[in-house]
Each structure stands twice: as C-alpha cells, then as structure tokens.
C-alpha cells in the first residue's frame, strides 16, 4: 500500500492557487466594475477577460482531444 503523498501535495497546492487566482480576479473585477472612472471600468473588463481565460484553460484541461 503506497499513498502518493507528493502528488497529493501538488494537487492541493495547484488547486489552491487556481481557485484563489480565479476568485481574486473575479472579485477585483466586481469591485472595480462598481467604480465610476473609465480606468476602473477598463480594469474591470480586463479582469473579466482574464477570468474567461482561466475558464477556457479549464475547458482545455477537461477535453482530452485538446491536450492529447
């Protein structure tokens, strides 16, 4: 019986980083989106785009045909 603790640790760390990143990006996008200045608005949209990229990366990981 062997438990792959090292791969478990990698799973925890990468999942934590990914989830933390997505939540941070989306939260900041919401925060900036409620601002009035153009800079805030643009920043907010840019952050939404980054969130979209994270989701696209998720789809890439889910579909085996994409990453062979």
């Amino acid at each position: 019986m062997t438990i792959a603790w090292s791969s478990f640790a990698i799973v925890v760390v990468s999942a934590l980083v990914a989830a933390g990143l997505l939540v941070t990006l989306f939260s900041l996008a919401l925060r900036l989106g409620s601002g009035v200045s153009t800079a805030h608005r643009v920043g907010s949209i840019a952050l939404y785009v980054l969130c979209g990229l994270v989701v696209v990366y998720g789809i890439y990981l889910i579909v085996p045909a994409l990453h062979g």
């Binding site: 999942a15 939260s27 409620s34 889910i62 579909v63």
Partner: protein, 382 residues
C-alpha cells in the same frame, strides 16, 4: 442461461445505473447556483444535462479496467464474469437509490466499486480483492477529498469577502454559471465513461467484441443519453441537502465553493491523485459555510453525509454479495435477482412519493431584487 440474454440484462442495468449516476450527481454542480438563484432550477438541470451529454462524447480515453486495479483481474487473477457484473450493478443501483431517498450525496463510483467488490468476494473469494489498493485509492482519498476542497473553499471564500463590498456581491451569480458549467462538463467526461467501461468489458467477456477494442459507438450514445436524462430529472433531494441543508449559501460563497470544486477536481484528475467529485463538492460547501462570517454549518447534516460515505462501499458490497450469491443458483437465481432488484427500485420510488421533493421546493429570491433599482419598463409587464 443464454449468454446474450445475460449481456442484454447487464447492458440494461448498466444504463439504469448510469441514469442514477446522473441524477445523483446533478447536485455536485448545480446545488449552489440553484440555492443562490444564479440559475432557475429547471434551467440549471437542463444546462447540466446538456453539458453531461456533450462531455460523454468528448473523451475517448476509456479506462482499461473499470475497477482500477481493485479487483485482481486478467492474467493470474480472476476473470470477472457477466453474472458478477450483473450482481455488482444491482448492489450499486439499489444503494444509489437508497441514498437518494435519504438525500445523501454519496459517491456513485464508490457504489459501483462496492457492488462489484461484494459480488467478486462471493463469486471468487476475498483473495480477489486487493486490500492495499482499496485503502490507498478509495479510503484515504475519501478522507482527503472533503478536507482539501473544504480548506480551498474556505480560503477562496475569505478572499471573495475581503475584496468585494456587500452591494457588489450579487455579481458573483454570473460567475457561478461558468464555474458550475465546468463541474458539469468534467463530470460528463468522467462518469459516463465508467458505464461505457462496464458495458464494453461485458461485451468483451462474452466474446461479442474484440479484446482491447474501445467502446462501440452505440454504447457511447446510449451512455451519454442515459446520464443526460438522469441529470435532467434532477436529484432534487440531494440538491436540497447540498444547497440548503448544510449551510445557507450566498452568491459569493457559491462562486468560491465552485471555483474550489472545479480546481480540485481538475487538479486531481490531471496530476494523478483521483478524488471523488461528490466528496469534493460536499467539502467545498462545508468549507464556504465555515469561511463566511455569520454563516453556520449544520454539522449534524454534514455528519450524516460523512456516515453515508463510510458505509457506501460495505452497503453496496453487501447487496452485491447477496445478489451474486443468489445468481450462483443458476438460471432461476438470476431471475430472482432481477425480480428482487426491480421490486427494490419500485419500493424506493413509491416510498419517495410520500414526501416528494422537486424543483418547486426551491423558492428563489428575484435575481438582484435588493441590489439593482427596478427598471420601469419591465415593472409594468410583471
């Protein structure tokens, strides 16, 4: 009994298991968006069904063994017969329906493994089960999955509440649609595969298909449809448990929990440490309940769920073992098995009608009712 008849029975039961797998697991992706009102209940299950259908076609990699080394099959081990698969499926289906009746989010994969283990122990002896694999691939991950997801979800919730102000948090609903969709898609690519594997294995064992060949196209279509229809019929009891009974979920929490679920599942399936989707999703909901100030987690409900996980494998195994024992009597044994299985399914279905729970049980607040000012044009129409 004619071998093709047994194969036909196995295929029917496998597809029915696939159906129960679908409605058992709708909650993993859709419990929180339904709870927060990000998606209307019917829309949520329809979206999940479509994504499961698509997901089933996306993946062409089929696990060579359905049991992942748990049962010593092949050279030097035992040959798992269609009759044993039949008994295992009966165990898995009965346990899946029973936990659904109780509204417990238990793992469908564990029910399948449990049923097969029970059947194989009766049919081929305890030596056919690899105990080390059982502990390292199922028992330890079952403890780690909810802890990992809970921790990540807890931190994600803290981040979300630290950054956003109260009036902005309704926007998380839009994000929830995307994160829950990812969970659904991932589910479709994984879970329909298991049933395809069972059917393909049976066809190969019966000599109706070449060894080492993948699932035939009609098997893929049938499994995809079965899991999609199951998902659409929605396991409302389990959705209620996960979305309502553990803790009250706000949009920011729903987003954080699903981000944690998605990240954990994708990381686990790509970095080689398999975790159960159901256990990850449940852990995330508990984690986000602990993470929000003022939210309380109903630990009694969480305890019931954990108990359900503990007994899933032995319970499905016990049913599978009894079914395998009866099937050992020959033709009439298999007939008795099937009759008993149908009777159990009907009994659970009728019992569930006493306190029906469906999409009407999910009253949702009007989206954004407290945040956005009402638009005058639409106000007249409503």
């Amino acid at each position: 009994m004619d071998i093709t008849l047994i194969v036909a029975l196995v295929i029917l039961l496998a597809l029915f298991f696939d159906f129960t797998n679908g409605f058992h697991d709708t909650a993993n992706a859709m419990a929180t968006p339904i709870a927060t009102g990000a998606l209307k209940p019917k829309v949520a299950v329809a979206l999940a069904a479509i994504l499961n259908l698509v997901g089933a076609f996306l993946s062409t990699e089929v696990a060579k063994t359905i049991s992942g080394g748990l049962i010593r099959e092949g050279d030097g081990g035992i040959q798992i017969t269609p009759v044993l698969v039949l008994a295992g499926l009966i165990g898995a289906i009965v346990w899946n329906l029973f936990t659904w009746l109780l509204g417990l989010p238990s793992s469908s994969s564990h029910a399948l493994f449990g049923g097969l283990i029970g059947a194989v122990i009766v049919g081929a002896g305890i030596g056919a089960i690899d105990g080390g694999v059982l502990v390292s691939k199922i028992l330890i991950p079952a403890v780690l999955a909810p802890l990992t997801a809970g921790l990540i979800s807890f931190i994600a919730t803290k981040i979300a509440y630290a950054i956003t102000r109260k009036q902005e948090r309704d926007g998380f609903k839009r994000g929830q649609i995307f994160t829950s969709s990812l969970v659904s898609l991932a589910h479709g690519t994984n879970d329909a595969q298991k049933t395809m594997g069972v059917i393909t294995l049976t066809l190969i064992a019966a000599g109706l298909q070449d060894v080492d060949s993948g699932p035939q196209f009609w098997v893929i279509v049938a499994c995809a449809l079965a899991i999609a229809i199951g998902t659409y019929s929605g396991g409302w009891r389990i959705i209620k448990t996960l979305g309502r009974d553990i803790t009250d979920v706000e949009p920011a929490q729903g987003f954080a929990a699903e981000a944690a679920t998605t990240a954990t599942i994708l990381a686990s399936s790509h970095l080689g440490f398999a975790l159960s989707t159901t256990q990850v999703a449940s852990g995330s909901v508990i984690g986000t309940g602990v993470g929000r100030k003022g939210a309380s987690v109903r630990w009694r409900t969480a305890g019931r769920i954990a108990l359900g996980w503990l007994i899933t494998i032995p319970a499905a195994g016990a049913v599978g073992a009894v079914a395998a024992f009866i099937a050992g009597w020959g033709f009439w044994g298999i007939v008795i098995d099937v009759v008993l299985a149908v009777a159990a399914i009907l009994f659970i279905f009728l019992r569930s009608r006493r306190n029906q729970i469906d999409h009407r049980n999910f009253h949702q607040p009007e989206p954004g009712a407290f945040v956005r000012p009402k638009r005058r044009k639409k106000a007249g129409k409503r």
